[in-house]
Symmetry: C2
């Protein structure tokens, strides 16, 4: 019998569709990505092509090498085709007094995660993953200084079905002058839970998952990786810090290293077990102004793109998930 499950933090329903249930093996496809070369002379993110991107904002690089030359191992540049642009002031416009818009002010950055064209989080050295996550934290904090911005989304697109056309490993960071409505709804629900129960709904979720165990993929002293109770897609995996913190910007360097170790192991397991699937991951975090709140909690949501988003999902935002999270957790735990 299928099951409707509700995300305890957002109240969002998903359908766990047992009538069309699939085993992990059913999702495996040939991954072209595994055959990519480690260098591509036409790639704007490959070493030697630094002039093909806008001037860098930051890099980790060998001593004695200058900005926008070779010698870097992680490099942050503005997105050449930015969704939002940093120059300009915020102005609200109305068309016919009814349709509201705003100048597209924001910041859109790319974190080039490695000089190696075909590297990916699931195959990189731990050290490299640590530095990527530390840079994301630092950029988050830098962007939070700009009074025009309210919110930052950090995300990674891997593979064509996940919306990237560039093979070279990269994450993206977008600072927006608004808090997205979806995030506001999440915040409101979390606040309501706090009002009712006097504790953070994510801290509670975490404690429940540790107790129940069957959805846990990996647990360390400070972090837990688990399949969300109301996973919207097969193998949707969350990584959450045990220490309460509303925004990603507040993570300590030590915690970021532990987070990197967990992310790295989970992504390696997904890379091997699901044969390098396309995926997105997003760091969910509170808006800057709510950095110190007791009721929100940052975490990473990993969304493998093994199934397509169809009309039912677009219309109702209720996802039909063909793999129970408990079965996904059992599979991912093997050999992690």
């Amino acid at each position: 019998m299928p099951e409707l499950r509700q995300d305890p933090a957002t109240k969002q329903w998903v359908i766990i569709a047992t009538e069309r249930a699939k085993r992990p093996e059913d999702y495996l496809r040939h991954s072209e990505k595994m055959g990519y070369p480690d260098y591509d002379e036409s790639c704007p993110f490959c070493p030697g092509n630094e002039a093909m991107t806008p001037p860098e904002e930051f890099s980790y690089r060998r001593e004695g090498t200058g900005p926008n030359t070779e010698g870097w191992w992680v490099r942050v540049v503005p997105n050449k085709f930015a969704a939002l642009v940093p120059d300009g002031s915020l102005s609200r416009i109305r068309e016919n007094g009814f349709f509201r818009s705003m100048s597209g002010v924001g910041k859109h950055e790319v974190v080039i995660e490695s000089p190696v064209h075909n590297a990916t989080i699931g195959t990189m050295d731990l050290r490299q993953v640590e530095e990527i996550l530390l840079i994301c934290r630092d950029r988050f904090n830098k962007l939070s200084q700009d009074p025009r911005f309210q919110f930052v989304t950090i995300f990674r697109n891997h593979g064509g079905l996940a919306g990237t056309s560039l093979i070279h490993p990269h994450s993206q960071i977008i600072a927006t002058p608004i808090v997205p409505l979806h995030i506001r709804h999440r915040l409101e629900e979390a606040m309501r839970y706090y009002d009712d129960n006097g504790e953070c709904v994510f801290c509670k979720m975490l404690a429940e998952e540790v107790e129940i165990q069957k959805r846990v993929v990996l647990e360390t002293e400070g972090f837990i990786a688990f399949e969300a109770f109301a996973s919207s897609v097969p193998f949707e995996t969350w990584i959450m810090p045990k220490r309460h913190a509303a925004t990603y910007g507040s993570i300590s360097t030590d915690d970021a290293k532990e987070f990197a170790a967990v992310l790295s192991r989970v992504m390696k397991r997904i890379y091997v077990g699901l044969r390098d699937p396309d995926y997105n991951y997003m760091i969910h975090t509170a808006p800057f102004k709510d950095a110190d709140e007791n009721w929100y909690h940052w975490f990473v949501q990993i969304v493998p793109r093994l199934t397509m988003i169809a009309g039912f999902e677009l219309g109702s935002r209720v996802f039909i998930n063909t793999t129970p999270p408990e079965a996904a957790a059992e599979f991912l735990r093997q050999g992690i």
Copy 2:
């Protein structure tokens, strides 16, 4: 300069990304679908294979032919791999007192839209489209009689990127025992607008679009097809009845025929102009219990799947749209 636009009915933001703007021609791809045969002996929806589906709920068929035999031209069957199942009672379950779920009771039907394997809305006779839309209305009303159900989603998936593996033309109908949270948020915003302004926000939107004209694709006496001001993807098109009505179930036969004519012309234009793109369309409607409300309004949302949903969209639900709706409308108006 990019622009942030807000949907007046939902308050949802989108980014109209002028820095990465594309022309309609940039989206054109080769459509494999155009080369499909008109009959496939292994297709469960092709005539002669009626036994491959669960027994039909309804059909339009030649006089003298019996159910589940050839002779039909539109046929409604239960989905063989149903997301929700009709047998059983609604029960709420709690895991550890914290995680809520519900038995997956609902109804999942397939409307097989034509006996012709490679037909699609954009190429069908008008008469056929009329009958499909009338059947959808009748199924909607039938499902609304079941006290266990609160809401119906009617949707169409066309092509692999839109989430369908079956080529044969079909729509789907899912009745759920819950109102999806996304729909509840839409209802709440619409109600708030009504409280503030004493009119339906969609009636207002419609009047504004008719006055402004630049996003209108097609207008008839009773319907308007337009590119939404805050379109989330290139060529997102809405078709809305001018006469206020909260649910699709209330449409008259004459109005359904006029709706069919508009839908048919728009889908033909998309089929030819964008070369048979993958797409979804969804009929947005109020829950059964709100059928007579003044503040909600049914409409169809057509979402061509020309771009991929990436991490930013998944994380923030703010879409980055690379074609301004005004340019999309200009393109679709040509030769419609």
